[in-house]
Symmetry: D2
Subunit: 146 residues, 4 copies
């Protein structure tokens, strides 16, 4: 089973939420598991989409309790490691999709590139050499499969 | 879904392997997911037992690659953190069962007790205040359910 | 420069505090740096003893802020990793002395033994194969030097 | 004592090495300690500069052995945590200076911004909102002091 990392901010607007929701659905339909940070915003959206499509959702949580996970995380992994857990998300993923996102997301993009993972971005303002831009969740999933 | 941590050495004798195999089977039959260190020995045995009974197996790996996981790990989480990943196993688990084990296992037992998790031991030579000794995998699973 | 790890609980009685204070002083006089968890109790005592004797004190802090360090930590290292920082203390140390201590300390003792570090205990109730018992801070420092 | 993080690649050209060397010297002269990843390239340069000026140099090492540290690291902290140690460098630092650098450095810049640390860049090709560009080591040190 391939595991796809989805990274993005813990709060986001409606438009970004919908894209992440759709992305989660498409990933699950392809048979991919989703790994993310397990919290709200983009992380919640992608888990919601994947879970509704019957997919496996893994949340690598920064805090001390599994109850921090959004309700669509099936496998909560409790690190109690704050941002250092970002490295675990990226290592665990076979490829990474960034959806929107701020500095935390940028740190994960850079880390993923540093260890030679494929990185795809959706609705991201960052313009980083090595990241493949996708115009839609469909395109992102297509790029993963290549 | 409850997640049960199973800890033990990465190599073990036939007798301990069988106990861990049986434990994995019983945990999966109860509907528990299993989290462990994802490598060989006791970790492999418990995953094999759980996987054959249709359970979910999570391996929190110390190295850099998911290919380090034993073949019965369904969800490989790649930490690249060596022994520091022990803290993640213990935090992720609702309760912990130690099977056999040496110093690495003792460190996980102590960590689990330090954060107030229920700890059960099977075939363990350590004699630590606070650990509940079980005589069989069946008894271990019963103690978890209490 | 040799770095000696000192591990023990974040609160302790007067007797244990004095032993840790004396240990810190003797380590600094030998030219050893001290690494510990950087908080109160035994950690504070050993830093106080070492700092007063002109030694270097390194605190590997579990929380997010260097202000968590006791006032005798010269080098606060901020991990935001909770108990996972125990692995860093033990890896950083050339040898480890446990003073008193509860489950957290036991986890560090076991981890240190797992990676083949010399472990010495003072005033410890744990009785773990591989740990060298010292009757006084003086004896602990002598054993380190051997 | 203020601790300044210096981040940059583990190999670099002559020009970048000299800048980092000069930066280390100036930081030490100001009484700042330097924290870095403890390896080669920019990390070695800044430690060499700081150590020659009598400063304290802390290396947060990604591997398992203190012998991985460059010869100018005074305090080697051994994490065995690969890239996850980047979060520790950034948390430990009161402010961060990026010198040159590739993806690993970018991940540290982003992480530092995510937790509201002042970030200054020297000879860096990344163009990230929130980073203060300095034209020389002197200017970088001035910006830290503001």
């Amino acid at each position: 089973m391939k595991i796809i990392g989805v990274i993005g901010a813990s709060s986001c607007d409606e438009k970004v939420y919908k894209k992440a929701l759709e992305l989660g659905k498409l990933l699950a339909e392809k048979g991919y598991a989703v790994v993310c940070g397990g919290l709200g915003g983009v992380m919640r959206a992608v888990c919601e989409g994947a879970e509704r499509a019957g997919g496996i959702t893994i949340g690598i949580l920064p805090g001390k309790y599994s109850s921090d996970a959004n309700p669509f995380v099936k496998i909560p992994v409790v690190t109690a490691m704050s941002h250092a857990r970002n490295a675990i998300i990226v290592r665990t993923a076979d490829a990474v999709v960034a959806v929107g996102g701020r500095y935390g997301t940028l740190s994960e993009i850079a880390l993923a590139l540093a260890i030679d993972k494929k990185v795809i971005s959706l609705e991201t303002s960052w313009n980083i050499r090595g990241v493949i831009k996708a115009k839609s969740p469909e395109e992102a999933v297509k790029i993963i499969g290549k």
